[in-house]
């Protein structure tokens, strides 16, 4: 099973529950703003502590309150592309890409990633000088180079104009089809969800 997740967690003022059990490679999570979609991703990545439940992805248990398993974020191997990207402002694009780079059994080498994402010409730039679409591709590249076992994409198309959004959509399709990583996509754009996802979970 790609995803076997059942979590109770605090988000904002309330307590939320979410269950995902799916064989699909790409599962979309959708629902109104403020419902706790990002918090759910943070729980899965290990950045936010859920109240109870379990997270199993690709057969591996990352969190299980019943048997006291709670891997720290650095051992969960999530390729997390944050909505606000969180590129390191004091590091060049190439140093951002190298930050989590795994020599062994990565999905791709750095030069392959630069090609795959079309960001080779940006290597020596600092994040502050990138356009929104460029920064997004760098954030995706940084996540892929860390040899993730799964991907968490939080609203990857927001704040992009239609041509850039189309570019990133195609990229996500390629990641889904060519790399075959289990991917959770948070989005509230119906068209994007329909086009990409094998299964859709609605939080409400």
């Amino acid at each position: 099973m790609s995803f076997d997740i059942a979590l109770t967690y605090r988000a904002g003022e309330g307590t939320r529950e979410c269950e995902i059990a799916s064989e699909a490679k790409l599962v979309a999570i959708t629902g109104p703003s403020g419902i706790g979609k990002t918090t759910l991703l943070n729980c899965i990545a290990g950045l936010h502590e859920p109240l109870s439940g379990h997270v199993r992805i690709g057969g591996e248990t990352l969190f299980d309150s019943a048997i006291g398993i709670d891997l720290p974020p650095e051992r969960r191997r999530a390729g997390y592309v944050f909505q606000d990207l969180r590129l390191f402002p004091h590091r060049t694009v190439s140093a951002n890409l190298a930050y989590g780079e795994q020599a062994e059994a990565g999905l791709m080498t750095r030069s392959e990633a630069l090609d795959f994402l079309g960001i080779g010409h940006l290597a020596r730039r600092f994040p502050a000088t990138l356009s929104g679409g460029e920064a997004k591709r760098v954030a995706i590249g940084r996540a892929l180079l860390a040899a993730p076992k799964f991907l968490l994409l939080d609203e990857p198309l927001t704040s992009l104009d239609p041509p850039r959004a189309e570019e990133i959509l195609r990229l996500i399709e390629r990641i889904r089809d060519e790399l075959g990583l289990p991917t959770l996509l948070v989005s509230h754009a119906a068209a994007e969800v329909e086009r990409l996802a094998g299964e859709v979970i609605v939080l409400d």
């Binding site: 943070n42 990545a45 290990g46 950045l47 720290p72 974020p73 650095e74 969960r76 191997r77 999530a78 390729g79 997390y80 944050f82 606000d84 969180r86 390191f88 402002p89 004091h90 060049t92 930050y99 989590g100 795994q102 020596r124 730039r125 600092f126 502050a128 000088t129 940084r142 996540a143 860390a146």
Partner: protein
């Protein structure tokens, strides 16, 4: 008035620099650790620690010096322990002057460093963790370099403060020529005796120049480390 300082006056300047450099070198790691604790951790007694760090800023310096004398005097608990274990005596020594300057500079350094640590987006640390960084590596590669402008500014500010330290120094380390008579103490001494006006003027000018240089250096370092990030290499 002879325009150039005499060799005795240069010796006072050298002593002041020696005392301030040691004071700041001792204080930087302590101040950064305190700043990080106060900025990033919630623990019982945090408010008390915050108050204790800031105490030298608001206490009369002579009281700070007296407390140092009680603690680090040869019969004080810490002074006695230091002498027993390491043979180090602080009171009436230049190292004691450095300790007094360090304590007085600490609050200023902690404030500058704390602000710059608080300005580092914690979400970046989270991002580093998901990329495989342990908490320690995330600290060394994200929090520390991004808070560096505040560390440099705090260090320079602390250095300038140490150069000007008077009250706690004269109380704890006394005013011993060649040992603890730093610039402010030498100026004060000069003002107590007739005929030393020229020496006082020269030492005061040097004090002003050193302080301005420290402040300018701090400003330049901060600007450089801010500017670097925004530009294409």
């Amino acid at each position: 008035m002879a325009p150039w300082p005499t060799s005795a006056e240069w010796a006072i300047v050298a002593l002041s620099l020696k005392v301030s450099v040691l004071a700041v070198a001792l204080t930087v790691p302590v101040a950064y650790a305190l700043a990080w604790l106060l900025a990033r951790r919630r623990f019982p007694g945090r408010i008390l620690l915050d108050a204790a760090v800031h105490l030298p800023l608001v206490l009369p310096p002579v009281v700070t010096g007296w407390v140092l004398l009680l603690l680090f005097g040869r019969t004080g608990p810490l002074g006695h322990w230091l002498e027993e274990t390491t043979g180090l005596v602080l009171v009436f020594r230049w190292t004691g002057a450095a300790l007094a300057a360090a304590v007085m500079a600490l609050p200023l350094m902690v404030r500058a460093m704390r602000l710059s640590i608080e300005a580092v987006d914690r979400k970046l640390v989270g991002a580093a963790r998901t990329l495989g960084a342990t908490p320690w590596r995330a600290f060394l590669t994200i929090t520390l370099p991004l808070s560096l402008p505040g560390v440099l500014a705090g260090t320079m500010l602390g250095f300038a403060r140490s150069l000007g330290e008077f009250g706690a120094t004269i109380t704890f380390a006394s005013n011993i020529p060649g040992e603890t008579r730093t610039l402010p103490l030498a100026i004060y001494t000069g003002l107590q005796v007739p005929g030393a006006e020229a020496a006082v003027t020269r030492l005061a000018i040097i004090s002003v120049l050193l302080s301005v240089a420290a402040l300018l250096a701090s400003e330049l370092l901060v600007r450089r480390s801010h500017g670097r990030r925004a530009h294409v290499l």
